[in-house]
Symmetry: D2
Subunit: 312 residues, 4 copies
Amino acid sequence: MKNIASIVADIAEEMRGMTDRGQVANYIPPLACVSPDRFGIAVVMADGTVHAGGDAEEPFSIQSVSKVFSLTLALGMIGDALWSRVGREPSGSAFNSIVQLETEQGIPRNPFINAGAIVVADVLLASGTPAEAIAGVLRFVRGLARDETISIDASVAAAELATGYRNLALANYMRSFGNLMHPVEQALGVYFHQCALAMSCRQLAMAGRFLAHDGRDPATGRCIVTPQRARRINALMMLCGHYDNSGEFAFRVGLPGKSGVGGGILAVVPGTASIAVWSPGLNAKGNSQLGALALERLAARTGWSVFEAAQG
Amino acid sequence: MKNIASIVADIAEEMRGMTDRGQVANYIPPLACVSPDRFGIAVVMADGTVHAGGDAEEPFSIQSVSKVFSLTLALGMIGDALWSRVGREPSGSAFNSIVQLETEQGIPRNPFINAGAIVVADVLLASGTPAEAIAGVLRFVRGLARDETISIDASVAAAELATGYRNLALANYMRSFGNLMHPVEQALGVYFHQCALAMSCRQLAMAGRFLAHDGRDPATGRCIVTPQRARRINALMMLCGHYDNSGEFAFRVGLPGKSGVGGGILAVVPGTASIAVWSPGLNAKGNSQLGALALERLAARTGWSVFEAAQG
Amino acid sequence: MKNIASIVADIAEEMRGMTDRGQVANYIPPLACVSPDRFGIAVVMADGTVHAGGDAEEPFSIQSVSKVFSLTLALGMIGDALWSRVGREPSGSAFNSIVQLETEQGIPRNPFINAGAIVVADVLLASGTPAEAIAGVLRFVRGLARDETISIDASVAAAELATGYRNLALANYMRSFGNLMHPVEQALGVYFHQCALAMSCRQLAMAGRFLAHDGRDPATGRCIVTPQRARRINALMMLCGHYDNSGEFAFRVGLPGKSGVGGGILAVVPGTASIAVWSPGLNAKGNSQLGALALERLAARTGWSVFEAAQG
Amino acid sequence: MKNIASIVADIAEEMRGMTDRGQVANYIPPLACVSPDRFGIAVVMADGTVHAGGDAEEPFSIQSVSKVFSLTLALGMIGDALWSRVGREPSGSAFNSIVQLETEQGIPRNPFINAGAIVVADVLLASGTPAEAIAGVLRFVRGLARDETISIDASVAAAELATGYRNLALANYMRSFGNLMHPVEQALGVYFHQCALAMSCRQLAMAGRFLAHDGRDPATGRCIVTPQRARRINALMMLCGHYDNSGEFAFRVGLPGKSGVGGGILAVVPGTASIAVWSPGLNAKGNSQLGALALERLAARTGWSVFEAAQG
């Protein structure tokens, strides 16, 4: 096996030349303006070494990748009580489908579809005002990445708020079943701001390290979550991290991961590495086209799939 | 960590004392007659050592666990062409739901729901008559387990055929979309017979070893499938192996696995072990209640979850 | 046949003695407080004779019965252009289902399910501010009933606004498909106020006369809508007037009708009579239990079903 | 108003010149071979006068129109007990949808969707063998039309049997819920043969007279069904007679009717007339395009809508 540094460099180079890069999300202007030419990758090894390539230092809107962090925070606040309000099964439908909510009485299938993440945001509001809850998410992510420069892009949050009728529908619908405790506007305020976190691949990969290391940040030795919880969050990422494309991602890549409509994907190799990739063009299911391809190649060349006997 | 032998023995002992054992499947008489008191476990390590406990030598109806073997055979016959006829995503609905087939034009979501396995059985018919296709499945499983005593319980297959209206509906429905090539009765004949395979935990764990070892049988060194294919089958088991309870299984156990309504579960620890458990009582979602619990405890005490950094 | 006056009196008397009166809607306090003992009936014949019985003079919240009047107004404003935004088919699901909206891209199945009536309310906003639109509805209904004392119960509208999460979900959902032109709050404001119209059976039966007489108010000779439009509104009432209980109503009663959760039903006998009944207890499908029963007996004893050869 | 004879003649002439005639059903060869140029109409007045035009004497495959006759027979056999096995509500989905059956536990929404008609056929089997049940349907229809030349086109029935996978799926699915009492093949045998009834417009209009006259055949005075039952069958035709296009038909035509994929429609004007039209080209929802148009014009020019005050 070539060393990781070469593999990462090769992949970054290969992605640069790709012509079929998918479609950039265009439902809000700030996302639509990002160039489809961008591609970044950052791999943080267990010892802290970082292998980066492409636009690895350029911040992008992490969008739904943020759901991993908000879920972690919410579990820290109320623990398994969360699971009475959100399920743990793949949805079998689109990220913003409302059909399942009717059949299942306002309980979203998992915390990574929009409805589930809105419930999680509602949980975070137990900690204070919307501003305080948002500040809490930002503080948590900055701490994980050990980088105080990470910020929330207010223009993205504002654009989401202005056009987020589908999410307003989901939230009101759950509220009608009693599955939101705070005003819909507050839960969505927290949700849209967490989605507007702007992070680079390097920052994102740093922030995800605890999931690759049984809940502990290997840089500081600090325990973020218990090993069991880290394992379970990984399981949720594997089963539900890519909406109705999760099976495809597991099939091709074989790693727990979470994608966002901004084109970012966070993936973890338990015991080995935390990885972030970014390319804004999306495939038909709404996941980063080159991001998934880069991860597929990385997993194949390193043997990092969790389904492989001879890992890394 | 205690050694594996002790852990397995402890778990077998703990399961013996459980009072809440779920409900034995009763839709056909041969399954309904099995005692809920049964529990068996067999763990085959990479070096061939077998740790067994409880009723590990008693044959049971493997039912849907057989879908792993028929899928492997079908992929060997037509390769990735299979994926134009069957999807790779979790279904988000019950094992025998027909709703999704209408929405998605007769293409089952994955090869482990009934509809998908019927398509797989239809593929196996390309090899000859129904009798030949069934013989092929039996030969394949015997070869994997290196045990010529494995047989198909004809009374189980006959009972399924006599009452399998739901599967007849699924098969005819797919036929109406042109997604079955052979007569419905033939595809179902193969399907019901493969489900009627009777195997003990020891035999099943032996037969699953190739999935734990990148497609190679470690006993013989023979390559059953490529490493990539083994990885992909594992991914499918992780995402879809327990019907609409797959998320729960990944969350609690964290291993690729496939359950059957007879109470058996096959699970693999890539690089480490192949495991079979059996207890006929089922939980509300149709998966072995004690089987899943035993695997949860085994994974927790051994650290065998694929989502854990410090495995084994 | 006994004369109409006797039949109406008999039915009112029979309803008084009924013990199984259904459940009063309790989702908002103002509705929950109405006594289930109430029953009223008013029949206005072609010549203007009114046969009334029970609590025929007591105002109640007409709720969804108002959708007939708002539809009539909206058709008067934009004509058949309405049908590009709302369908004309029975829904096959509950009055507040959101599932169909996802499948059919934000186009409600008909103007009598909640989603459809919200679109109609959105159309009414073309006439001015929400207050003006509401005033327009009130003016229209007062004119039809020739009764300036009809009013809107502001406490009912306020209670709906405070708890109407499901309708907020429907409205935001349609907005996400571009099928609302005005702010969600405004469309719902109009909708909740029109539903809060308080009318007695006598007033309601008077207001519905134009539908029984080819669009013309027989008292004044004034043409409210064309004969074709009256016929079509009647058809919509017949097919969709009782949510997912419309088939049952047609089967048992055989008249175009529209029910409301306040327990009122407006029904018309083309060429012969306009009828309003009211009893607040609802059956399992949300329609007035005694109201429907009273109409069934009335239709049977008078021969007023539109499906009967020898009418009236 | 012009007299009926002239109106019928005009309409037949107008239909001859139409260029947009819809698509002829092509799922089985015997139907696909019928020329789209055909159009026939027959109107039987209360006094027995027949006004016919176009190809009114040419037999065509009545297909689902037959469901009216089989329903009538089944109600004669088991009465209202039928309604525990079939609903009375519009389906809100396509004629051959299986989705609703899953949600509602194998109970079809109404007797006019395929699943419901298969249950009705199963009821008819209580009278004897499939051949006897089929003979019973034929005898009944011949008696109604007083025409012993009416026959069943065996080639049509055979073609349906050979390719009817969707109906096999529906039947097996209901069987799995215990809602068929006889073997699936027998119920489908009856169903496909009744659908293969070949009748001319004149014969069909004659056979439908009892529905226009409170259950009594005006030619003989014989009571076919009670007035209540006639009224109720009419109600079902109005609500569910045109699959998911029933609302549209009620809106445009305003008469109880039942369409078939062979291009025929039976409609009744209570107290006035029984009407059959036929033109094989279908609209997007599977109903005769010119047939519906002809009925719309007929109803408009005669004032025959049941929703109109001043009928006939």
